[in-house]
Amino acid sequence: MIGQAVNRVDGPLKATGRAAYAYEHWEAGQPLYGFIVGATIGKGRITRIDTEDAEGAPGVQLVMTYLNAPAQGPRDESIPFEYWRAQPMLTGPDIHFYGEPVALVVAETFEQARDAADLVEVEYRAGRGRFDFGEFEDDTYIPKTVNAGLPTDTAVGDFDAGFAGAEVKVDQQYTTPYEFSMPIEPNASMVAPHGDDDLVVYVSCQITDAARDSVAGTLMMDPERVHIVTPFVGGGFGSKLGIHSETILAAMAARALGRPVKVTLTRQQVFQLVGMRPTSSQRVRLGAGHDGRLAAIAHDVTMHTNPDVEYAEQTAATVRSLYAAPHRLTSHRLTALDLPRGTDVRAPGEAPGMLSVESAMDELADALGMDPVELRIRNEPTVDPERNVPYSDRHLVECLREGARRFGWENRPATPASVREGRWLIGYGMSAAIRGHFQGPTTVRVRLEPDGTAVIQTDMTDIGTGTYTILTQVGAEGLGLPLERVRIDLGRSDHPSSWGSGGSWGATNSSTAVHRACAALRTKLLDAALGDTRSPLHGQDPSAAVFSDGDVAIGGASEALREIVARHHPDGVEAEGQTRFMGDDPNYSDYSINTYGAHFAEVGVDADTAETRLRRMLSVFSVGRVFNPKTARSQLIGGMIWGVGAALEEEAVVDPRSGAFVNRDFAGYLVPVHGDIPADIDAVVLEGYDDKANPLGAKGIGEVGICGSGAAVANAVFNATGVRVRDFPITIEKLLPGLPAMV
């Protein structure tokens, strides 16, 4: 079952509109509707707030502001991970960023709530905010650690000496913009009071366990009384790792009114209230010999952070494990701006970091006059150059060679701006990909019912990643059942807990736990049968047992699982399986465990307008064992397309006067659409098995697709035009002035 390209088991529900997302549950009856009123200044203080007209508007049940919001628990910095912390809202008159909630209006209908929200009168005294990254880029501080607890700075050897002595050097500055996850389902929540003091919280989130603790911490409740329900999530990409104002405000209103309340962010509010990938300025220095071997690598990154909620994207961390070089330096610096908090956006740090480093490698190849593929192969390390531990299952060079062969890399225009087809300048580009693989704690329960069907329960989510499908496959294989006799029950905080979907670890965490739970369940079933004189398996050798098709067979004897369950466990039988935190698993300290890939892209750049079109793209990955090649390919291609967007389109722009994002919708913040992506795009995965990662040999695939894919596109633009744009995204106005003159 594992490794088969089965269709998504939740596919028919999703394709027919029957999958219920957070805002679409009716079990608790007709809810009230909440609408958030946001601040219209970026920094300052509310001087007057008048809710009388709003409160008197038809259907309005409640207008909540800082003047009548209940007391809430504080953000507790001693809780190690942000997403588990309380998120207090409407706590006072101070405004910290543009769009910050200043009121929640709750009414009988959505239309009433939305209109009454317009009637809330708020006056402000605007202060002078720090909004413009460029203005404050040099006013930085050093964070204690960066995201995921990674070290802020690292140094190996003597970078200055190594760089100074290098024969060929690249020393360039790259900038990346604010980017947003922007799943198509806006952040949404419905909170229903239940029983004496319980809350059922239907919320679009990636980590059920974190949502429960965050709601409970904010509302100062016992976490056991908060019941998160999130069976379907309309995309997350980091933006739903934590919960946000929609959930906290809905919960406070539901408690105050004793009725279900639902709140969704408008698309514009998603740009204000969820957080974004920090903007960054990155200096990359590469020093090499004429043979292309790197002597020195440095990656120094400055980013924005919100002053109250520090977030340091691990942008310079990826290069630490990528190439060999004796002299190395990485650093992260932050400048505090009065903007929404930075947050995890798909491939945090890796995506913007690889965009710059792999562009710089292309610049080095150009300076050396060397094939960019060959340059990377020459710098393949034998051990992780900063941690000084061996790699588990590193196949970057195979990815590079296989990708070059399949793509037809040998046809690359050797000289930039040398190939033209009609009005199109044609270029090839490539990039390497690497991303760390992580492991987090997860518990699942596998239950075999008397009718011979299995139910797998965990609070793990499926945010489109295929959790329902791959856990069905792993469970079916583990118990020897047909797929249709395995049912997956996800996304409830009352189930055994996991660390959810994020960091590309959900699939392996939950699959490993299912694998182990099935093993424990098999032992229980065998113990029962072998010790029972009524069983045909009585007294047989358990090590020879084969579970398949709903039966267990030993030699010539066999018995149906449902017979064993019916006799010994008339109410069903269950077992739990666990995956432990990587910090407690020596493999994760003894080895550098990563996923790898190589991207190849061909672009056409319009010689007159500088419009850039992706013509084709191929990437080859090494990610260990793959649970389901169909869903894996989809997820990898999705990541690659995110890289295309980062290279050519995505950019949120701040108004330096107000701190507002001026292009806060899909007309202004451009993400790839059908017309941007050619049919000729594919992801190939090498056969693999990483025995250091987990007993299934699998690694995460949700983010490696983005790592470097934007650089492959950017490098193809250079190859097509001879113009190197280092301020991403590569848009027309940056490219056009440098285009070669036409004859």
């Binding site: 394709a15 509109g17 029957r18 919708d665 059908h674 992506i677």
Partner: protein, 189 residues
Amino acid sequence: MSASDTHAMRRSQVETAPPSAIKLNINDQVRQLAVDPRTSLLDALREHLRLSGTKKGCDHGQCGACTVLINGRRVLSCLTLAVMHEDDEIMTIEGLGDPDHLHPMQRAFVECDGFQCGYCTPGQICSAVGMLAEVRAGWPSHVTTDVSSSRVALTDDEIRERMSGNICRCAAYPNIVAAIRGSAEGGAT
């Protein structure tokens, strides 16, 4: 007009909006409902009729998640009011098929893995069904090379151009195009 005048005008509008009793023909069933005249067709479907297969992604016509078929043509249900559609035949994703009786386009999306999170999917599928009808009717698009011809070849470029109003942030685009092509070649309507 001063800000306070605007405010007073807004207030009076809010206070004088009686509900409208309307009948909507949805998925071949006539449904009666009383809606605030400001209710979009999208919210009427989702919040009044509890047909939440039609999705709200942006609520102002930029993402395509709310696409439904009205008299066979694709329409963004967030940009039209429910009260405007009493005489129309409205088809939503729920009317195209159900999990046990998938529409050929729905089956093609499942087979080709034309989605991940599934939230844009109903809009993609309704849009694809409407789009194929537009191609069959010979409507040209921005990428049609011969706009004078009454026949349009269903190339990948035509599919991509005509589907560009439906954003998929999971970026299942190549699989969606494959699903639409497969469905069209299988004679799906």
